[in-house]
């Protein structure tokens, strides 16, 4: 565990402690399980966002992808009677496809990630709304969904499945990012693309790979989110979620300049965000202040981080 992750963990514990002191219900089983569920839902795609940010890019489209893939998923199951494993596969492939498209546009066409995914944000949202004629779409009386419903929103050993899925995804991605050749290339390309190219790394492929992975994780998240709400209203579903993901990644130590970050950090960032959301509810803070609290804490975190980095620099200079 690096310094950043440790600092974040301390922050999580401190804020959790204060909230508990003000309202002990924070630590009740119901509340904890509810938070675990949300952490699972948000964590999976935040990890994808983190990978993209590590390459020096950004993914603004992920929230709209949920809407488009979500309406497709329900439509395939409810109106076309597709077996759920096939529908799940279709959504996963859809995510991978959109991710590859982003990757191609960024690396081959040379467009800026911000522009590519901003267009994605607008296009996928529009496509989703057109798909259903702007109507909310639900499962209705569709049969044969018990097992997938359980998988995406049930519990195992008393723990919400989305949280367990996050644990699995985070473990796998942790190995990919921190132990694999591909992960090393991601950091190298994010930190110094030119030096990476001079080292014989196919930098375009590596960057595109990050978008593909992010797309796949968005596909998984779509299924989890659909069963959390049980219906998709295409104009609102997943909207602003890209910002939650960016916030979690940045809180977790990913630098928007690229080349920095860790899976553990991103997960802890997600945890912190959900605690903040939760404390707004549990402490009776007007829920309209929800975003303001989140923004305020992120800002303070960024300032503290800057200050610590400055002190470390001064300290190092003093020793030299």
């Amino acid at each position: 565990m690096g310094k950043k992750e440790l600092g974040l963990l301390v922050l999580v514990l401190v804020i959790g402690g204060i909230t508990t002191a003000l309202n002990p219900r924070f630590l009740s089983a119901v509340n904890l399980l509810n938070m675990a569920n949300l952490i699972g839902l948000f964590g999976v795609f935040s990890i994808g966002q983190g990978l993209v940010i590590i390459t020096g890019g950004i993914d603004l489209a992920v929230g709209s992808m949920f809407a488009l893939l979500g309406v497709m998923f329900i439509d395939l199951l409810a109106n076309h009677g597709l077996a759920w494993p096939l529908a799940l596969l279709a959504v996963l492939l859809g995510g991978l496809l959109i991710g590859s498209l982003h990757g191609l546009l960024v690396t081959r066409a040379g467009l800026q990630p911000f522009v590519v995914t901003l267009c994605g944000l607008l296009i996928y949202r529009g496509a989703a709304r057109y798909y259903t004629g702007d109507a909310t779409i639900g499962f209705g009386y569709t049969d044969g969904l018990d097992s997938v419903t359980w998988l995406a929103s049930g519990r195992s050993f008393g723990v919400p499945n989305p949280f367990l899925i996050l644990v699995v995804v985070a473990s796998v991605m942790s190995v990919v990012l921190h132990r694999s050749v591909f992960g090393r290339y991601l950091f190298a390309v994010g930190r110094n693309e030119e030096a990476a190219r001079y080292s014989g790394i196919r930098t375009g492929l590596v960057v595109a790979g990050a978008y593909v992975l992010a797309g796949g994780l968005a596909g998984i998240s779509t299924v989890l989110l659909v069963f959390y709400t049980n219906s998709v209203s295409p104009s609102a579903f997943g909207s602003f979620y890209e910002l939650y993901a960016i916030a979690a990644a940045v809180l977790g130590g990913c630098s928007l300049r690229g080349g920095e970050g860790s899976i553990l950090g991103i997960v802890l960032g997600t945890v912190l965000l959900q605690i903040l959301q939760n404390l707004v509810n549990i402490l009776g803070i007007p829920s309209s202040l929800n975003f303001a609290v989140m923004g305020g804490v992120i800002l303070l975190g960024a300032l503290a981080d800057q200050e610590l980095a400055r002190r470390a620099k001064v300290g190092a200079a003093g020793r030299a």
């Binding site: 050749v181 930190r191 990476a196 001079y198 014989g200 790394i201």
Partner: protein
């Protein structure tokens, strides 16, 4: 004697380990063109930085604008009317010519908003451009101007502040012949108007054409001065050279073999209408000399696949190879130690070991997963073999000195199987001790049968280290000198485009 505009006396400046300027004196009169010559690293740029107020000299006096000072600030230089036309033009190419000329001194409209009065700006700049014979107007976007036209914008900027001293730093390095002639004509007009001009160039022919006097720097000192009637190529080259540079030489273990790295009629983007051929044989160090901008780095980039060659062929050990990317080059054992190691050679905030293994990471991995032990071992092996000054291979490269960073770049290639290595300015920013070690490593590589091509602008290095030297001039290899023929004069003659 003409009244001096500028008088520098005994200017000295040292950097750690280098004496950049050592008691340099220079004066410049009204309406005089002073040619300033000297090899790369002779101290010309430092001297001009002193004059611009960017570098503070350790000793000496500067007489400028009727005052004598120990050093200048940028503002002092500007108020005294010193203007620079830089080698690498520093322009805002998102703005038009008038905006560039007047940047920071725009005409403003009356009123509280202080908006820029574009028309007044254009009206102010138009006569300046006209005076320079520019074929574009003040509203021309700089992005669409050629290098020569941009230079006129810079000169117009100098005129707009009523510069009394204009310093032209390698003004013709990117100009065509006719553009050069036009620039020289402009220099003549400026001189006639009483402006003092310092003309820095490697192109001695231009000095012969336009200079009233020539000052030559060598190793930070004034090597000599020539009055108008004595300005000639031979006299100038005599001043530029004159050191014994043989001491660095380690003779090779054996005779060079066949094969190695052979470039045939290679055309690069830097000189699309010129081609270069050369042959670095296994077992030898082939120096590649030439002036800055003669196309050496483009050649290296083409060989390594950074910007593939426009035409021509590359042979490695007798076989033609197609190199479309660094990946292709590396796969064939053809490596590059790049000019700018911080930008292209290293990922600075990664540890030594990770930098060493980066080009061959799959060799330290099993099923796509890196073996930390294998990686650490590789890093440690290079750290000890190259005597990199760091407690262990987990140290971040950014904390190392220039020489040790360069050893890390070398380490990554040494841990593989090199057949040919191109070194681009291998000892730039490297301290003297590490320099010697790097030379020894290059020699050891050559003795292992590797073809070593060393691009260098440091004459001492070129002559001291190479077995043979190919000299480039404007995109072509102007000639190749054997060890026995090597002298500064011979290299310089070829580099400035004269037959040896």
């Amino acid at each position: 004697m003409i009244a001096p505009l500028l008088e520098l006396e005994g200017i000295s400046k040292s950097y750690p380990g280098v004496r950049a300027l050592d008691g340099v004196s220079l004066w410049l009169g009204r309406g005089e063109v002073l040619g300033l010559i000297g090899e790369n690293g002779a101290g010309k740029s430092t001297l001009m930085r002193v004059l611009g107020g960017v570098v503070r000299p350790d000793a000496g006096r500067i007489g400028l604008d009727g005052r004598v000072r120990a050093h200048l600030t940028v503002a002092d230089a500007q108020t005294a009317g010193v203007a620079f036309v830089h080698q690498e033009l520093s322009m805002f190419d998102n703005l038009d010519a008038a905006a560039n000329v007047l940047i920071g001194r725009e005409n403003l409209r009356a009123g509280p908003l202080r908006l820029v009065d574009r028309r007044a700006c254009r009206d102010r700049v138009a006569p300046l451009l006209e005076r320079l014979g520019a074929d574009f107007g003040p509203d021309a976007p700089v992005a669409r101007l050629s290098i020569a036209q941009r230079q006129l914008v810079e000169i117009a900027r100098a005129l707009s502040v009523d510069a009394r001293i204009i310093i032209l730093d390698e003004p013709t390095s990117s100009l065509t012949l006719s553009e050069t002639d036009r620039l020289l004509a402009i220099v003549a007009t400026l001189r006639a108007a009483g402006t003092g001009i310092i003309y820095i160039t490697h192109r001695l022919g231009e000095v012969v054409t336009c200079a009233d006097r020539v000052l030559c720097l060598r190793d930070g000192r004034v090597a000599g001065e020539l009055p108008r009637e004595e300005i000639a190529h031979a006299a100038m080259t005599r001043l530029m050279i004159g050191r014994d540079l043989q001491s660095l030489y380690n003779p090779p273990a054996g005779l060079p073999g066949d094969g190695g790295l052979q470039l045939q009629d290679l055309v690069t983007t830097a000189f699309p209408d010129r081609s270069a051929s050369l042959h670095a044989r296994p077992g030898e160090i082939l120096g590649l000399a030439g002036l800055v901008g003669s196309g050496r780095t483009s050649l290296a980039r083409a060989v390594f696949g950074i910007e593939p060659a426009l035409s021509g062929s590359i042979h490695l050990d007798g076989n033609p190879v197609r190199i479309g990317s660094p990946r292709d080059a590396i796969a064939r054992g053809l490596y590059l130690v790049p000019e700018d190691r911080k930008r292209s050679g290293l990922v600075l905030d990664m540890p030594i070991a990770q930098n060493v293994t980066l080009p061959a990471l799959n060799g330290h991995a099993w099923m796509g997963l890196i073996s930390p032990a294998s990686e650490a071992q590789a890093g440690e092996a290079q750290r000890t073999a190259l005597r990199i000054k760091a407690p262990n291979a987990a140290v971040q490269v950014v904390t190392l000195s220039g020489g040790n960073q360069q050893k890390v770049v070398l380490g990554r290639w040494l841990s593989l199987a090199p057949r040919a290595i191109v070194f681009d300015e291998p000892t730039r920013g490297v301290d003297v001790g590490a320099k010697g070690e790097i030379y020894a490593l290059m020699r050891a590589l050559a003795d292992r049968g590797v073809a070593v091509l060393m691009i260098s602008s440091d004459m001492e290095e070129v002559i001291g280290v190479s077995d043979r030297v190919a000299v480039m001039h404007e995109g072509r290899v102007a000639g190749t000198l054997e060890r026995g023929e090597l002298s500064e004069a011979a290299v310089l003659h070829l580099a400035i485009g004269q037959a040896a």
